[in-house]
Amino acid sequence: MVSQVLLPTDNEPRTTDDVAISCTGVIKDFGEGDAKVRALYGIDVDIHASELTLLIGPSGCGKTTLISIIAGLLNPTEGEINLFGTPQSELRGRKLVQFRAENVGFVFQQYNLLPALTATENVAVPLLIQGWKRPAALKVARETLVAVDLEQRADQFPSQLSGGQQQRVAIARALVHQPRLLVCDEPTAALDGKSGRTVMELIKKVAVQPGRAVIVVTHDQRVFDYGDRIIEMADGRVVRVASDAAEIAHFAEKVSA
């Protein structure tokens, strides 16, 4: 059973047809003049709520740039992103920062836990950012750690945890404030096969909830079968979208072949 604390605030049951995020003609250029490099060439893609979307492709194809734009960490050069019905162009400056704090959870490849904080304290950080009182934030953080099966490690520091455990703490941190969008960047890249699968199972089981969009950037072929939808990118373009089970299975087989 999924802990109540991990459910998104807007937790009305939705179908997988719900489009949570819609990207239309998204272009991203870095640099200026002769040094200008185009990273994304007019991306048109929808991210659906209540499912796990894998964003795959070779290094340098624009995956990280795309999720950075979707999560509001980078601005697109052109194009429009619609986040849960709100055009991202309406979210600028402080509004965008607040939107991220309330609606986006992040899982990073290198975990990015604060080494000076215990597991519980790390998980409480998003709540503290939102202005929660520390005792209340720590209480909810501790409950969230139970959901990722780390209650025994609640008072340990990141340096005392294995890579897989650290990533589970990072997942708990990403979900503690019940975000509507969870962005995971190569969450299994630094883990061995077993730990990687544990992390993906956890994301699939705990993170994917009605009303929540989950995007996992990966080129770890071992985890393709966890996706409900796979978006393949190459050279700054979306080259293929696989959404039904047969397509995904075929996709996974093709890539592994």
């Binding site: 990280t64 999720i67 999560a71 991220r100 904080l117």
Partner: protein
């Protein structure tokens, strides 16, 4: 977020203590060297500092400091007494003399001759004996440090004698006195006695000490004396700075200490600033993660400034504490008598450390604020 900033700062004890001690070391360098410089400069004006009862000093118009003295004539004293607004005016003698002790050893001493009738300029605090004994024949009072320079660590024994210019002098008291610049013993005696302790000259009156009547400022009286007599007259404070100014202009002390203090400031800035800057740089990824998670630039700025303030305050406290401990532990050393940390130096060090920390914070902050939160996705 303040709590997270505190935890980030203190989480890695080695880095935290390194940063704090960097600041503390910088403060120690600045405050200790500045204090020694100030104390040394203060010593040049020891004679003026120790005369508490007169507020205006009158001297030859070409006088440049308190050690190279062109004596005044007795008629000058009468002319000064005739100036409107003078409450009283008395003689004051100051010279170097050679004192020979019982075993044949000798030392140069600072000989101060006080007006026989009033003893204006007498030491304020006696450690042994009584000031009244100075009226006895051949009587002298020596400062505590001077006694040690003359007789070493021998127990204080009043009544012992020394010889100056073939005249016998009898020790009748030990007093506290501001240490002179050259660490010579300070010997007090009556004016009439002092002139016998040095080789005779036609004119012997080094200074005239005066005080204005009630309602007249020291400056006003000094100006009046100068206008009426043509002599140089300065208030006690002016004369003190006049002497210090002479040594500042004519010796290498300010340059040497200035270099040391500047080096202290630069080294202190470099150590404190660099350690804090490196601390922030090492946490850049963490700040990036916090920015990605929705911490505003304003809050990040607050976090960095809070960390800087904590480091600055604790480092400053430790640095000033170490300086205070240095002067406390060396206070009993005769050669270092009178060396202390003026409160103004503590303020200067506080301003310096604030400058260092603010500078380091803003350089660090620039990095943090320029940081794209998307950096957290780059491996």
């Amino acid at each position: 977020m303040n709590w997270i900033a505190w935890k980030m700062l203190t989480g890695d004890r080695a880095k935290y203590f390194g940063t704090v001690f960097g600041v503390a070391f910088g403060v120690l360098l600045i405050s200790q060297q500045t204090s020694i410089f100030v104390s040394l400069m203060r010593r040049t004006a020891h004679a003026v500092i120790d005369v508490r009862d007169a507020s205006v000093w009158v001297m030859d118009p070409h006088q440049q400091n308190a050690d190279e003295i062109k004596p005044l004539s007795d008629s000058d004293l009468n002319r000064i007494r005739g100036v409107e607004g003078v409450a009283w005016a008395v003689r004051y003698f100051k010279s170097l003399a050679r004192a020979k002790i019982e075993n044949g050893n000798f030392r140069q001493v600072v000989l101060l001759g006080l007006d026989d009738a009033t003893l204006v300029g007498a030491p304020v605090k006696m450690r042994e004996g009584s000031l009244a004994n100075l009226r006895r024949p051949d009587a002298i009072i020596v400062d505590k440090a001077g006694y040690e320079y003359l007789w070493g660590q021998e127990p204080v024994r009043l009544g012992r004698t020394l010889e100056m210019n073939d005249h016998r002098a009898v020790l009748v008291g030990i007093c506290e006195a501001t240490a002179p610049f050259q660490t010579f013993p300070v010997v007090y005696t009556r004016y009439s006695q002092a002139v016998q302790f040095v080789a005779g000259e036609r004119k012997v009156m080094s200074f005239v000490l005066t005080k204005p009547q009630t309602g007249i400022s020291d400056q006003t009286l000094a100006e009046r004396i100068h206008d009426k007599t043509g002599l140089m007259a300065q208030s006690r404070r002016e004369f003190m700075w006049f002497i210090i100014g002479y040594y500042m202009r004519n010796t290498g002390i300010p340059i040497n200490f200035g270099i040391t203090i500047a080096l202290g400031f630069i080294v202190g800035t470099a150590i404190a600033g660099q350690t804090f800057y490196l601390f922030t740089l090492e946490n850049l990824k963490q700040f990036g993660a916090l920015k990605a998670m929705g911490v505003s630039d304003l809050k990040i700025t607050g976090m960095v400034l809070l960390q800087a303030t904590i480091v600055g305050v604790i480092g400053y406290g430790l640095g000033i504490g170490m300086t205070a401990l240095f002067f406390e532990s060396t206070g009993g050393i005769t050669a270092l008598a009178g060396f202390y940390m003026p409160w103004q130096v503590a303020i200067v060090a506080a301003v310096a450390v604030a400058f260092i920390i603010v500078l380091a914070s803003f350089i660090s902050l620039r990095k943090v604020l320029m940081l794209e939160p998307a950096v957290v996705f780059r491996g």
